[in-house]
Amino acid sequence: MAGSPALSPSSTGWRAWLLSPEPHSRWQARLGRFYLGWRAFSRNPLAVIGLGIVLLLILVALFADVIAPYSPVAGGDLRTQRLLPPSETFWLGTDDQARDIFSRIVYGSRITLFVVVLVALIATPIGLLVGTVAGYLGGWVDTVLMRITDIFLAFPRLVLALAFVAALGPGIENAIIAIAITSWPPYARIARAETLMVRNSDFIASVKLQGASTPRIILGHVVPLCVSSLIVRVTLDMAGIILTAAGLGFLGLGAQPPMPEWGAMVATGRNYLIDQWWVAAMPGIAIFVVSLGFNLLGDGLRDVLDPKAAK
């Protein structure tokens, strides 16, 4: 059985407590499960690097005030400090407004994190709910919900986001809403597929025979089985979300100046690409590293959480 690996008899203390075959409380059982997952996860060095990058992003966003040496918005002396190359005073150089690029990237991490977290918080529950309800109830509910999903899937994400932002006006909040409403359909599809696999199983039949209501079955019994594959998918999508947000920023439809959004920063750097390459390259590298981090993390999580591999 995958859940009970060879326990070395010498393991003592907290490890033995975590891996105890006879947990004494709900929490011990849950933590033990979590620990087994962590052990599988940490065996994959790339996944740990991904997790490190994501944690670093969170830390930088949290402590941006402490880390950034200059203001991200107010520039220095426009006559002497414009477009300076990386140096000891300005680690990553300055841009055309004489602002420190390093400080802007540090503050920009807040915007990136904000986008990623909000999109995940909006899109995942919608997709999960639509998918599990459609899959579990079947019949006309399934048809209606899935056709709506198909309609949303038929729109190219960036184009729908563009149309949405054009209608509501540019701004980071509208960009987030636009990305969220275009990213839930794949989650609904995944959740529905997982639901179809379990809806006719005996353990769902048995909870029906205990008289459980439909919402109780969906939320308490079906959703927990769909969550792990959704977490993997959402994590892997994070890179795409960051890129879409940066793309909207680049086109001037996302974050508005003077917000230090990475995509918008690349857009301003475009004008100086040949002579002052660092203005566009530094935020570009930041986007690249964070996207890579989320992808590596998603891959690692898939190895741990994939319901087909785990028993």
Partner: protein, 259 residues
């Protein structure tokens, strides 16, 4: 306790129509153990699923305690009738601990003293409190089936529907589970309907039984008659013979068995 009158179950329509159960009637007294026997596809499991609402009742009546069941079934019905499934590897939620599995029916019916009742339910099926916070993958097949039985009994039902409760287990564990079921019936005064293809299991647990074939009732007989080999029906005879295992010089099986 349980009265099945001219039960008919049909799946699909038109060319896809399948008559799973045709005109089956039987009566089960309170405290009795009643067996349903037959080969695969004989409709015995469908009868069970129709009683508890997992399969539709196309026509006929199902009476529990003298009252006809409603569709969908009421909460009171689920407190009276519970079911144990065939495969204990599929009937427990893989992400729920034993504790969660057993507390779910109590929560649904708004019962109090969850703590004591879970421990009592575990004790009844011969498991200690150390099993309470385990996940299904930390249990053996026999232990899982005990948990499934505990879950079915925790609401104190009067009727237990057993759908081949031992056929997914190996022989020594089968005997343990059968003895446990027998003990529980005596102690709690339960009524059983046992579905099995194994005549030995049915003869061990049940007093009376119904032989089914192709969705029809073939013969109602007693397990005493079964043990002495006195079956009036040809098909029952061939089942008895088949259950005695392979013998090199046995009579060639009836043509009808192949159908």
């Amino acid at each position: 306790m349980l009265d099945i009158q001219k039960l008919q179950v049909v799946f699909g329509t038109g060319r896809l129509r399948v008559d799973a159960v045709k005109d089956v009637s039987f009566h089960v007294e309170p405290g009795e153990a009643y067996g349903l026997v037959g080969e695969s596809g004989s409709g015995k499991s469908t009868v069970l699923r129709a009683i508890c609402g997992l399969a539709p009742i196309t026509s006929g009546r199902v009476l529990v305690d003298g009252a006809e069941v409603t569709t969908p079934r009421s909460k009171a019905f689920y407190r009276t009738v519970q079911m144990v499934f065939q495969d204990p590897y599929a009937s427990l939620h893989p992400r729920h601990t034993v504790d969660r599995t057993l507390s779910e029916p109590l929560a649904i019916h708004g019962e109090k003293d969850t703590e004591t009742r879970i421990l009592q339910a575990l004790r009844e099926v011969g498991l200690g409190p150390s099993f309470r916070f385990r996940y299904p993958h930390q249990l053996s097949g026999g232990q899982r089936q005990r948990i499934a039985i505990a879950r079915a009994l925790i609401l104190r039902p009067k009727v237990l529907l057993l759908d081949e409760p031992t056929s997914a287990l190996d022989a020594s564990v089968q005997a343990e589970i059968l003895n446990l079921l027998d003990d529980l019936r005596r102690k709690m005064g339960l009524t059983y309907i046992l579905v099995s293809h194994d005549l030995a299991v049915v003869a061990h647990l049940c007093e009376r039984l119904l032989v089914m074939r192709h969705g029809e009732a073939v013969e109602e007989t007693t397990s005493a008659a079964l043990r002495s080999g006195a079956a009036s029906n040809e098909y029952t005879q061939s089942l008895i013979q088949a259950s005695q295992g392979f013998t090199r010089n046995a009579k060639p099986p009836l043509q009808s068995l192949a159908g």
